[in-house]
Symmetry: C2
Subunit: 414 residues, 2 copies
């Protein structure tokens, strides 16, 4: 059997995601689609809208055959780290291709961009350092350096690396090259709204951001039903009816604030991504600011992107230190969150060729990175639980078996 | 002017405390009573019923002239540590006597007990080690060792060191001796209910524990009014009407649980008082237990007293590590929480003779122990605040000046 990999967050899963999974299968002639999906904290340094099991169900009902969890360490990393973790997992599970969404849907410009940077490594790195020294954010420095290099090749079609999806795609390809993967890179044009679009328009494909905003504004899921498959609608309704709060930073702020006060600047400095004196700013802001929004207003600056700050805060919340991160350089397991019958057949066929251990029960495997994933799950559940925040949804990683198509229906797991 | 020191928690202040302050003044012929009082976390490892400023007002309206905060490091320590911190502060501020409550109100047995242990140090320490090796708790081991020694002197009147107030008194005297203080030790017989009595009886003096329990049970302050002075009643009403929650571990449990999950066993081990494998028990209990009560049921054992466990939990909550504690061996400041006009006259007269710096504004002084006090205050305020736990009562240490009699009335600080 032939598998194609995709990298997803499904926050939440919408029609554009369904289209991408279907097209990935069609274009690559794959028997199964394997998704590597972030857990309960996402690449932009945010708690997920709903938890990883709920998003796994959405995936399995929408064209994905196997879902693996991208470990916390990679899921909350910057684009190169995120891409490296995801690609290594897809390679380890034997995918023959990976497929990402991009702005124009052609792969050639990405190959050109990669080769260009490969050939101008020194020039590129010098330009990055220079831009950072001038005080711009890291992503902007990368983009400026890239612009410098492509300026010398005006006739070559290259990828536009100012667009978030293109940036990720570029890093997937770079990661695949770095590990000498035989996976073929494929891209499909993204449909509909851009990543940052906030409004729901008349089109049937809207951004996940827009869907979340619409929900938070109206407290009604009906308004977004045109943009999300029935399974998403159903599962979001279930989440709501169990009086769970949808993931958002404001709900986590009492815990974040508490832990910032508890840690103080000297321990905040040990946390991953916290650097260069920002710990004092964070500590002062927690003392004075009563909401996440006002806290962010007090902390943000030209030097750090909103995303970068949110990643620091995620790591502060979960206690992810620089030392912890250094101990988790590469993915060490394939954590199965769920699969269809097709997915099961694929894994049965390949089980002896997997490059990493397959985990379907966390209790049977001991690993610092897996402990971190479980820890992040528990903290997510604690902050979003009913009422006081004291709920019995801690330890779900030990209680929930991988979601199987056999057992799965919209009524499953009530 | 002549000052007598007392060591208090006022959790909350009741008629027995008023009696003690009055008698201490009378018996020693003092002009002023100086109280060293725990901050927002107490010696039994519990959050205070109401905060330190509210309890300072109770004190100033009830016969105390000056209130200093016992730093967190000492306030949450075991009896010898608590006593050492308190006595050093009373000595530093120039008290000529200190006065504590005891079961029978005579000082001679305490002097005898101190001398006996001094003369049998080796025997005493060997007996303590032996008892601990047999698996009993530390306080019980001390008591067993003490019993061994006094058994050799059946005719000498000695203190009963199985009673909590006597234990503290003994340690106050031991601490005074250890620093060569010239303060005279005085004791007054405690009136009314014992420390552990839970019920309110017909007597007008009840234990603070009983008063708190009664309040939590009935949600009415009226039932306890016979046992507390008007100022206590008034201030507890104000606390309640501002919709603040009375300090109790259940309210702190979501934060405690969150931070236990975040830290994991390896970091829990670095926390003060956490030792000998209990970090694993604590971590597992936090994963499974939804309430503080059930958490404690899962953690407690013969080896550790309830109080010892609560102290660990307080330190986990506030992030107080073994290293932090080692850096704060002795009190380094006199933190003024409030004073009467008499108290002000005393301090004016003595200000050049104080053995430690007097702090009335925390912003003007930098000290790790003071930072810890402020940190503990902030965490206390965060957990007990209105509604979601996000309140604007963080940073009160910077906002509130010492409470002065001039400005203080029952309406003050609304």
């Amino acid at each position: 059997m032939k598998a194609t990999g995709i990298v997803v967050e499904y926050n939440p899963l919408h029609n554009g995601h369904v289209y991408h999974a279907q097209q990935a299968k069609l274009e690559t002639g794959a028997d199964v689609i394997i998704a590597v999906m972030s857990g309960n904290f996402l690449q932009r340094g945010e708690p997920a809208f709903v938890d990883k099991w709920t998003r796994t169900k959405m995936a399995l009902a929408s064209g994905v055959d196997i879902v693996f969890e991208l470990p916390y360490r990679f899921a909350t990393g910057n684009a190169p780290v995120f891409a490296q973790g995801a690609i290594e997992l897809l390679d380890a599970v034997g995918c023959s291709a990976f497929c990402f969404g991009s702005e124009d849907g052609t792969i050639e410009p990405f190959h050109n961009s990669l080769q260009l940077i490969d050939r101008h490594t020194d020039e590129y790195e010098t330009a990055v350092k220079k831009a950072i020294a001038e005080g711009v954010s890291y992503p902007m420095a990368l983009n400026q350096a890239y612009e410098t290099i492509i300026a010398g090749q005006p006739s070559l079609p290259v990828a536009d690396l100012s667009m978030p999806n293109n940036i990720l795609g570029f890093h997937y390809m770079e990661a695949a090259e770095s590990i000498g993967s035989s996976m073929k890179a494929v891209t499909i044009r993204r449909m509909g709204a851009g990543y940052h679009d906030d409004s729901l328009e008349s089109q049937k494909i809207a951004s996940a951001t827009g869907i979340r905003k619409s929900f938070f504004g109206s407290e009604k899921l009906d308004e977004v039903s045109d943009f999300i498959p029935t399974v998403t609608k159903q599962l979001l309704h279930e989440w709501q009816s169990e009086r769970m709060v949808f993931g958002n930073w404001e709900s986590f702020y009492p815990f974040l604030r508490f832990v910032i006060l508890r840690e103080g600047p000297s321990r905040l400095r040990t946390i991953a991504d916290v650097s260069e004196g920002i710990e004092n700013l964070i500590f002062r802001a927690a003392q004075s600011q009563d909401s996440f929004q006002s806290f962010m207003d007090a902390v943000k600056s030209k030097r750090y992107t909103w995303t970068r700050i949110q990643r620091m805060l995620t790591h502060i919340l979960t206690g992810f230190t620089k030392i912890s991160r250094a101990e988790m350089e590469k993915p060490t397991y394939l954590r199965l969150l769920g699969m269809t019958n097709e997915g099961r057949s694929y894994l049965n066929e390949r089980k002896k060729e997997l490059l990493l251990p397959l985990i379907s029960k966390v209790a049977s495997f001991s690993d610092p990175s897996l402990d971190m994933d479980i820890n992040a799950s528990n903290i997510y559940a604690l902050a979003l639980g009913k009422g006081t925040g004291v709920v019995s949804t801690i330890g779900l990683d030990y209680q929930i078996s991988p979601i199987m198509e056999d057992h799965f229906s919209f009524k499953f797991f009530k």
